[in-house]
Each structure stands twice: as C-alpha cells, then as structure tokens.
Subunit: 335 residues, 4 copies
C-alpha cells in the first residue's frame, strides 16, 4: 500500500478550508501544514485540526521534505511566484483557478512544472463534478447530435472581489466546463459588461465564445443578482440537455426534443417534443473527486483533465475576453 | 352610453383568433368582420362565431362604413401597405408588433396615422400586462434605486419564422418592456446570434442595449430551448426585482437586497439580504387590457403607452441590432 | 359520415360554459340549446354564441326532438330528478360529478339509464386526462410493481360550497382517479376533517381508503390553502410515480427508486436511486377527451371509463367517508 | 470569562458526528471524549479530531470528572438507562429525540433529572431552527389570526429503522414543532399507516392531532417517497404561512389571503388574495443554536424550549398515536 500523500496548503481564506477538509478526509492524502499571512485565519482551523502545523510563512512548508505537494489558494497575482517557488522546491502543485491573470504568467507556470517534472493541476473544480462528467459523456457519445449552442447563467449576490472582475472570478467555471464539453479550440471571444458598484471592476459580464464548428457558448456572469443560479443549457441538433448544479436531484436532464422539419415553401414547422430523462448522477462532492485525481496524477505522472494545459487554455480565453471588454465588445480573434 | 367599437380583424393566423376573442368579449367592442387570404383559416372561426362576417378580401372590410377600426395581424412585410390603406379609408389601427421591418416603413406608418388623424397603436401586448405595469410603478417610485441592469430570458422551442429571425420575433417584447420601464433613450446596441436550423435566419440571439444613464439591458432570445422561459431581472442600486411571466402567482418579486458596503482597504464586503416581497398583481389578461386601451385611445384621441411613437422606437433598436448582427457584434451607436 | 351529436346543456354556472365550449368546438357534436334558471348567466353566453338557443326552462330542451343528449351541470341535489326526466325523454346523459349525493340516488340514476337503454356518463373529467391515462398504463404493465400507497394533495383557496363539503366537492377527483388506477374494490374508508369557515361544512378533510391488496390511498382535500396543489404520488414496490397536474410539462415522472434490501440482522439498508423519466403526455384538454368519448359511447353503445357504474362506485366511497367523518374518523367497512 | 463546557458524546452513529462537530466548533464548548460500542465508527472521527479521546466504554466518560455534560445519540431503547446513569454521575444531559419509547420511561428520565438537579434537554433540533422560530413569532403576535389547521409533509426515501416505525422516527419533528407553535395541549390523536417493506413496522403513517381550540394538525410521514419533502402549512383565520425547510431562501412565506365573506343566501363568496411576504430568516444551523442553548441552560439553570417536559409531551402524543395505529385509526383521547 502506498503511503498517503502529504500535502501543505498555502492560503487559508475563503477556499483554503475546503481544500484542507477534503485532503484531510481523503484516504489517500493528509494535510500536514497550513500557511497564511494572517494568523487570525489559522486559529479556527487549528481548533478543528489540532495536529496540523500552522504557519504564517509558506517557505517553511516548501522547505519541509515531508511535504510532497502543495495546494495554493491565494490571490491570483501571487500564483506565478508561488508555483515557481514550489516547483523549484520539488513539490507537486494544485493551484486554484484561474491558473494566472495573464497568458504570460500561465505559460511560465506550465513551463516551470515541465522543467521540474512535477504535476501541475488547476482547481477547475467543476470539471470534476459528476454531473458535468455525465453531460460530457452524453455529448461524446453523440446523443445530443451536433452542438449548436450552450447558454449559461452563473449569478449570485457577491462575493465582490477588489482586484479582479466577475469575468475572472466566475468566468473560469464556464470556460473550463465549455472547453471540456466541446473539446475543440475557441476561435473568437466577445464580452460586454458593466461596473456598477466599484469603478473599473465589472460586476456583471456577458461572455460569448465562438468555436470552429460554429458552436457558440454564452455566459451571464454576475455578482449582482437576487438569487444564486448555476444552469447550463446545451442545445444540440438531436436533443437538448440542462445542467442545474443547484438541484438536489435531477441535476442533469436530457430533453428528447428539437426541430423535426421546417418547410418555408409550405410555411410548415414540425417539432419533436418527446420524453425527458434525468440520469442518476453520483452525489460525490466535486472537490473530493478533484483531490483524488490530483493524488492519482502525482502517483502516476499522468495529466488530469484540469492539468496545466487545460488551465492555460482557460486563461487565453479570459485574456481575450478582457481585451474585448476594453474594446466595447468588439470581437477578438484567437490564434 | 357610447356604442361599442366595431372592429374588423385582418389576418387570422396564429394571433388573429386571440384578437377576435378579446375584441368580441370586451363590453366596449364587437368584431364585425374577419379577413384572411386563406379560407381554411376562416372556417373554424366561423363555426365559433356564426354571426361574424368572413372574407378573403380585406378591402371589403376597409370599404365597410360600419367598421371604425381594424386590427392587423399579418406578416410584418405587409404592415406598411395595410396600415396606409386603412388610414386612407379613415380607420383607426391596432397593428401587431413589430410596427414594421425597417425604420423607414415605421416612420411612414406613423406619418400616415398623423396625416389621417387616426389612432395608431402597436400590439406590444406585454407593456399592457399588469405584472409589467407593477414593475414599472416600482421603478418609477424609486424603490429599486438607480437601475444598473436588466437581464432577460425569452426562450422556447419554436415557432420558427421563415421570413425574419428571432431578434425580430421575440426581441420586440424585451425592447418594448425595457423602454417602458427605463423611460430613457437607448444609446447603443450590440447583438450576436447563431443560425442553426435555417441558413441566414438566426434562431438564437443575445441582444445588449446601453442607455445614457449607464444602465444595460441584455436579452437571450431563442427558438431553440428545452423549455419556455419568460423572466426579466432588474438590478437596482437599492433593491432587485424579478418578473416571471409564467408563474401562476408571484409573477413579480422584490428582493430587498444589495451591496451594503465594499471596502477594498480592509478587504471587507457587506451585503444586505432582507425580506422578499411579492405584490398582488391583477390576473387580467394583457390582451384584454390592450384592446380596452385601444378603444379608449380611439374614443379619447389620447395616445396609449404602445402608440406609434413607442412602436417606432422599438423598430429603431431592432434595426440597429440587425446591423450589429451583420457586423459580428460590433457596437452600433444610436443617434 | 355521421351527423354531429346535438347536445343541450342544462346549467350554465361555473362548469357549464366549459361543457358548451368543448361540445361546440368538437367536430363530432354541436350545442343547440342551453338552459339555466338565471337569465343573467345566459346573456354572456348568448353574446359569444349568438346562434345557440337560450332558455330558462330545461323542459323545452328535453321536449326538443332534435336534442339527442343533455349535459347536466347543476347542483348535486338536482341530479337524480333531472337525469330521470332526461332518460324518460329518451336523451343520453352526461352528468357532472359526483353522480349523486347518496348511494340511493346514484343507484336510481343508473337504473333509469338502463331502463331507458341510454348512455349515462359521469363527468369525472380527470380520468380522461392524458396524464392520468399515462399513469394507468404504467401501473397496468407492472412497471411500478405492487402498489403500496397513493398520496394525494388537492388543495386551493376556495371555492367554498354552501350545500356540501370539500369531501364531496374535491373528493370525487381523487376517488375516481384512484379507483381507475388500482382497478380493485375499496374495503374500508376513514375520514377526518374540520369546519373552520362555515358551521357543519368541512372545508378541509383527510380521506384514507384501504384496498383488498393492502394498498392505501390518502388524500388531503382543502378549500383553505395558500396555493393550488394537484399532486398524486404512487409508491410501488419497484418504482414510484408522481403526477402533478399543474406542471406545464413533466406532468408525470417515474422514479426508478426503492428499497433494495433491508437486513435488520446486520443493520443494513440499501436503496436504489436510479434515473428519473418523464414520458411525453399529449397536451389534449381532458374535457375535450371526455366529450369525444361521450359522443363515442352514445354512437357505439359501449360504456366509457366514467360510466354510471364508475360514478356509483365513487358515491359509495364518499357516502362511507361521510359516515366516518360523523363518527370522528372511525373506520367504515365497505360491503 | 467562563470556561468552555466540556462535553462527552455517547453514540457515534448517524447523528453523533453532527453533535461532535457542533459542540467542537462552538466557542462555548469542547468535545473531550466520544464513546461508541463499535470501534470502526470511532476511527474516521479520530482521524478528523486527533486530540479527542475515543472509547468503546461510555462509563469511562461518565467517570471522568472533567466531563460536565453528555450528549446521548444512541438507540431509543437505551435512553432511559443511559440518562439515569449520567444523572447519577452528576452530568447534564442532551439526549436525542424522542426522549424515550414510552411515557413511563420518559417520566422516569424527567424525574431523574429533577432529582439530580441537572439540565435535561431533548434534541428536538427543529424547534431551534430559525425558520421555525420565525413562524412561532408570527403566530404569537396574532398575524395569522386563529389557527385553523397545520398540514405537514415529511417524506423521503429511507432511512428505514429496524426497531421502531416512521411515526417514532419522523413524527417527533412534527409533534414538537406543532406543540411549540400552538402552545396548547392536544386533546386527541388518530393515526393510520401501512407496513410495506418490513412486517409490523410502518413505513408510512398519517397522523392527526386535535387541540382544545379546535385546531387540527395533520402529518404525512414516510420512508417511501420519490423525493424529500419538508413542508408545513399553517392556515389561520387571517393569513396563511408556509414553511419549507428545503428552500435555500424563502423558507418561510406569509400569504395575506383568506376568506373575506361567504354568504349562502346570495351564493356569494369573496376571497382575499393579497401580497406574499417572505421574511428574512438567519441561516444559522439549527443544531448550532441547539448546542448553544444547551450550554446556556447548563450555565443558567433555566429550561430551554426543548427541555424534559417538552420532550415528555411529545412522547405522550406518540404513544397515543401508536395506540390509534393498533386500533385501526380509532381516535385516542388524551388526558
């Protein structure tokens, strides 16, 4: 039997405690140390996990030879430096999404991982969600036919960020899921948005991505909404699918409906509205799947579905979307 | 007591029968004649209303001196000619939305109404919907504060049109409601879409409208969706409102929530999430309100909230959106 | 081609206009006369259907040889006398539910139909609802396994009746649907209720029916509820079904779930929670199906699924439930 | 500043871990020891809380002078003996619901607490739920008027118990909430049910409770249902309230509707259907409130709203309901 993977967690703000809980609960890993610059964040964690080492200096974690891997949940602007330090220290890295705030930084991180021959995984948690995986399988086996478009609603009240906008905060989810589902390169990006609460930081954005096949993905991203919505609708030429992450059951529904025949000459239309089917989806927490796959990737050396390359592709779309946002929504072509 | 208004209905396709039913049921009007080029559309109407005169020639209606007003529910491309004929015959006109397919035609119709000194009303049924009126009243009295943005979902499966796209089919609803609510001129328009079932006819479109105040309205319009959605969310600086036209009750909800305080210096955020209130909205059918207001407008000579000018403003936005659609979503400024 | 069935409608209160509309719209029937004691009820009907004869004396309808069948939508206490008169005049009869207020009266009506050799059908509209039929088919082919229990919610605010209670008003729906689904005789009945708004007239009742197979049906019936609910849940040994009549789509859902294995010795439980399936159900209005089947039954002489016998079975359960209600909920055995 | 309360938890099955987490996270208490007969249940808890003492012998906890209070989450049949032991050892006790399986045992536990002068609290978690508290406040200030009836749906698939039925498993929630809301003594109880999966153990039951004021409470309790439902509807003479525990927001709604006027002489009915209001309810976990109130009760000596007397009242209703169940649903009067 392999020993459990010894993990250090850097950053104990909003997301860090979830990483700690999941790495700790997993039979294949243990958290041995947690670092955060703010001691008051460490206190409640120490109360719950008295045996984990707490520190305000992440370098003590990187210096610890027992620690094989680090999970980084710090502000985006720190990702590159921390990842490079971690790879230099020979650690494997799970870094929160987005991988970086620029393509340049993201490429540097990917290169550092390669140079150190260490696993790099990006915390695109949703691609590890069993419901997202179920939709991917349905698309892959052709059940929906050719994909026409994907419409996504990802809105809630808060949490406003101060250093980056809603596109970089919520957008990584839609972009990573869409790229995972469509499995093809995006060709162009458009983005419009509004800055209503803070100057120069968009709290609402509408993102459109065009693909080579003609498929379009559209996402409504907002920190200003009366309630939380997490729905993605996939329109195919044969069937349609709906993924609602907030449903306790029936997270995924397949609608056997579409256009049967349109005949302008006779002004005729025929639609097919058949059965609706909701496949059983395991209830496993996505983050639990993610940490398990991270350990697997470390152990086997094989890339996961949210490896560095996947994370870099997401950053490319977001950076192009930022340029479109500055250019009043003009279309930005991707290389 | 005034006599009932004698109405002729031109066009007995999808919408015409609704006009016939509502004008007939209203105590202030009677339908005296119905015209359609296709006799097979007239047969079932004749069965239900044996005493109404059916004809395949609308000119016999325009020539009938008993007929004071006509309701036109024919293809958009025929609106201008029919309206001009009707005004020339001295009739008042209720014409289905959109008023016309071009700004030029819409302006000509408005001019013809003015020259004939007759009432022109456009069938923007939703602005006569009691729930839409309730939201307008809430906005007017400042309850929501300054309006940040409006997001609309107006999607369903079908009915595909053969001569115009989803922007011109469903878009008039969102544009007319938004202009009615915000009561200010739009400054710019953007639109992206996709043609998936028919060549060159968009069956999905995402429309964005910018206003002088900085407010933005966004609408997802689609004939390709697994279910029918009719929601409009209004985000204000003080409160938020949701209008869901498909709810049997609670069509309008006011959310007493928003951003209380954001303080980047201390990385602090405070949100207000208070009570949710759903005001009672009368159940009156919007079309019944519309026909009543049309009769009123004819009798008093006063313009209604969906008069020719209102209809023209909608066409200006749609024409600009069409130009944006052709220009790959580039922003089109409005004069 | 057979001529259309000429129908007279007796009673133009709440339900009568629906019968008029459906018999009139059906290609196989025509309404030729409507009777109601209150002339003010006839006026709006006359406006809509100028060619139908209106009368305040139902005897003129029964005396009219053109009239082949009558639809009776009058207070329950009048059903027996009107049915007997109608059969005596040689008419076929569709009478609203419940067939009568006592088993004695119900038996007399059934006997009168038989003596006159005329069709008797009871307006248990819901058994003609395509969704109810879909559930019946699912049960019949054994998909749910053995039926354990049915739980029904049938509540709304109003319409309070003045001469009979909620059990006799809403109960006929649950009893007729349940008997149609289970297709076996009820053995015992229990009913508790409360009279909150009017003395001695229950506005809420909970009805329980036991069947020979061990199956139990329970219904919550109420005129005092914050919203309208129309759900029936069927628990089988293999699967479960839910019928929600208010859903625009997905009226019927089949849940592939149940108890896999219970083992007290090892304190083990295993449940099966599989896919959820919603079969496509035609959108046809139940009352349209009902009038079509009535015409069919008249033309062929074959009984429908809501014939006199079916209506009598419902009255037997309701009368027993009334006795239980008077006896503080004590169980009443059925013969 | 007072020291934190040192708590021992006896029973680490389904519910125990929740008690451990909440006592541990609370600033006013610490878990110092956990006992369970099955060592395999202790292992995962030890992994998460390495500093808590684990034992298979609860007596070592009772013998520990550091331990001031115990939380008991063991099978019902063991409650009396364990509580009596704990009081004899001078500990305060929080015991899971129901307090006991018989009135005799429940009375003995209450007497033991009184004799030892120690705090006894029963884990009726729901009465500590902020939404339940909000409804209680609404009822108390008369907003709903006189309470007519309460209808409750508490159903889900599983977890089947092997030693007691659904009435004793789910029923304590409805009975404790109802008694808390109505604040009056029940007069009679009726219960019917069915044993479909295990012989002699009801997996579905319908419970009716009558009160002195004429109010009625009805609950549908089931381990056999296609989905989880947790709704309670309160019908008052002035307004109605709905409590849906599974809603992420809008857990409580107040409906300003009711019967305005019924006039049988003129066959008139008038209903009031006004606004719907959803008061903001704190999101605090009910169990966190419960453990905080338990510590408070221990520190102040003042009884909580789910003290021994409250727990005993619940057992009286359940025991009477059991007798009704055996007597085929016959009404059982309460002293």
């Amino acid at each position: 039997m392999t020993d459990t993977l010894k993990v250090g967690v850097i950053g104990a703000g909003y997301w860090g405690p979830n990483l700690i809980r999941n790495f700790n609960d997993s039979p294949s890993s243990d958290v041995v140390a947690v670092a955060d610059l703010q001691p008051q964040r460490l206190a409640p964690i120490q109360k719950r996990y008295p045996s984990i080492h707490m520190t305000t200096d992440h370098r003590s974690i990187l210096a610890d030879p027992k620690v094989e891997a680090v999970a980084i949940a710090t502000p985006i602007s720190t990702h590159r430096a921390l990842c490079e330090e971690a790879f230099a220290a020979g650690k494997h890295v799970l870094v929160e999404k987005p991988l970086a705030g620029t393509v340049t930084d993201a490429e540097a991180i990917v290169a550092a991982a390669k140079a150190a021959d260490r696993t790099l995984m990006v915390g695109h948690t949703f691609v590890h969600n069993p419901a997202v995986g179920a939709v991917r399988a349905i698309i892959e086996r052709g059940e929906l036919g050719e994909i026409h478009y994907i419409d996504s609603q990802r809105v809630n009240l808060g949490l406003h960020q101060f250093d980056f906008n809603v596109l970089w905060d919520l957008g990584p989810h839609d972009v990573s899921i869409t790229l995972h589902w469509l499995d093809q390169e995006p060709r162009w990006v458009q983005c419009v948005g509004g800055c209503f609460v803070q100057d120069d930081i968009e709290d609402v954005a509408w993102l459109t991505i065009g693909f080579a096949s003609g498929a379009i993905a559209h996402a409504h991203l907002s920190w200003l909404a009366p309630g939380k919505i997490r729905t993605m609708t996939v329109i195919g030429s044969r069937k349609m699918a709906m993924y609602d992450d907030l449903m306790p059951v029936e997270k995924v529904k397949i609608f056997d409906q579409g256009v049967e025949r349109l005949d302008p000459d006779e002004l005729r239309r025929a639609y097919r509205a058949g059965d609706i089917h909701s496949p059983r989806v395991p209830m496993t927490e996505a983050l639990q799947v993610e940490v398990t796959r991270f350990v697997e990737s470390v152990r086997t050396g094989k890339p996961s579905i949210s490896d560095g390359e996947a994370g870099l592709r997401v950053v490319r779309v977001l950076e192009a979307a930022s340029r479109s946002l500055c250019a009043k929504g003009a279309r930005v072509e991707l290389a």
